[in-house]
């Protein structure tokens, strides 16, 4: 009985957490990353800090919205199917509600001057948040000349060309795989050498 209750509580926490994430991320996409990182890694310890980057990588490389994908993934890790369902609902419901209301008063909303001022500020604030996420995740990365090169290339191409990010992720994946093949070969050679000796 107690276990059942704690599972329900967990589901509720998952829902509330992602509701909050859905409610407070403006500008979409990357703006959600800092908040997701903070809530799931640092606050609730659902995800280990070394795993969060893998989850973002998977969320980006699969179809759909990165924030929703991350919510589904984290929800599943925390509490199985129901966790993933509640996390996804949680992240979508705030924007669903707000947009439904705005659709009714679209003309009026556009002319709300002070809302516009507030959001100009929020847009500047969001840059701070994403910068923080880069710093935080950048610190945790393992750096070899190869990963550093991939990082710089990805940054440069994404900043200065119109290339679709999926190709960058694919490029990284293939490079990682080739590197793994090379490592395997090297290990096998070393083993052979050892046997010969």
């Amino acid at each position: 009985m107690k276990e059942k209750n704690s599972y329900r509580e967990k589901l509720l926490t998952v829902f509330i957490t992602f509701f909050k994430i859905g409610l407070f991320t403006f500008g979409g996409g990357y703006a959600m990353i800092p908040l997701i990182e903070y809530e799931t890694v640092e606050r609730h310890h659902w995800i280990e800090s070394k795993d969060i980057l893998d989850i973002f990588a998977i969320a980006e490389a699969t179809p759909g919205v990165i924030a929703v994908n991350t919510a589904t993934f984290v929800g599943y890790k925390v509490a199985g199917f129901w966790g993933s369902l509640l996390a996804t609902l949680g992240v979508v419901i705030p924007s669903f509600t707000i947009i439904s209301i705005i659709a009714l008063f679209f003309q009026e909303f556009q002319s709300l001057e002070w809302v516009g001022y507030a959001f100009k500020g929020v847009r500047a604030g969001v840059i701070v948040l994403i910068l923080g996420a880069v710093v935080k995740m950048g610190k945790k990365g393992e750096y070899t000349p190869l990963t550093a090169l991939i990082l710089i290339l990805a940054f440069g191409l994404a900043s200065f060309t119109d290339i679709n990010v999926i190709y960058l992720l694919l490029g990284g994946a293939v490079t990682g795989l080739v590197y793994q093949v090379w490592l395997n070969r090297k290990q096998a050679d070393e083993k052979n050498d050892a046997v010969k000796k």
Partner: protein, 194 residues
Amino acid sequence: MIYLELFITFFKIGLFTIGGGYAMIPLIQQEVVAHGWLTLLELTDFIAVAESTPGPFAVNIATFVGMEMGGLLGALVTTMAVVLPSFIIILFIAKAFTNFQQNKWVQGTLYGMRPVVIGLIAAAVFLLMSSGFISKGVGIYSVDDFFAALKYQEIIIFLIGCFVYFRFKLHPIKLILVSAGLGMLFFGVLPMFY
């Protein structure tokens, strides 16, 4: 049957937009404008509104178009449709990932993808800064032009934000609220005095 058409269209958008964010706009534009659900001008207006409402853009536009075309039921249909493909796909991946995470080929793939993700987020900062801090459509031919094109209010808000966020370890949501307040101060209150 408008609901079915809405469902299929947004399911397609959810299924075929990889990479998220503004990468989705061309496909959304194509679909939504081709169906005559929104004009290009309405879409542009809505993109501006979506920037100042919470939530992912693709979900926002789905809800908006659904609401315009089929009321609350329409909005429910489109929102579910846009989320459903990725929900199913991620569910399978999450299930498999727990089993295969330690597999050396999976690890090899992720080894190459992790730095790409960091690079992409860094690029997002760079792009947001260049569009957020420098006025668009102003010719920059000299150092003076450059300084004239800078959006000082935004830069000051950014710097204050950096200070309170990194120095005092402010919660991200509190930072959003602080920067909203600063926005009203710099764009609403202060211009009244000069």
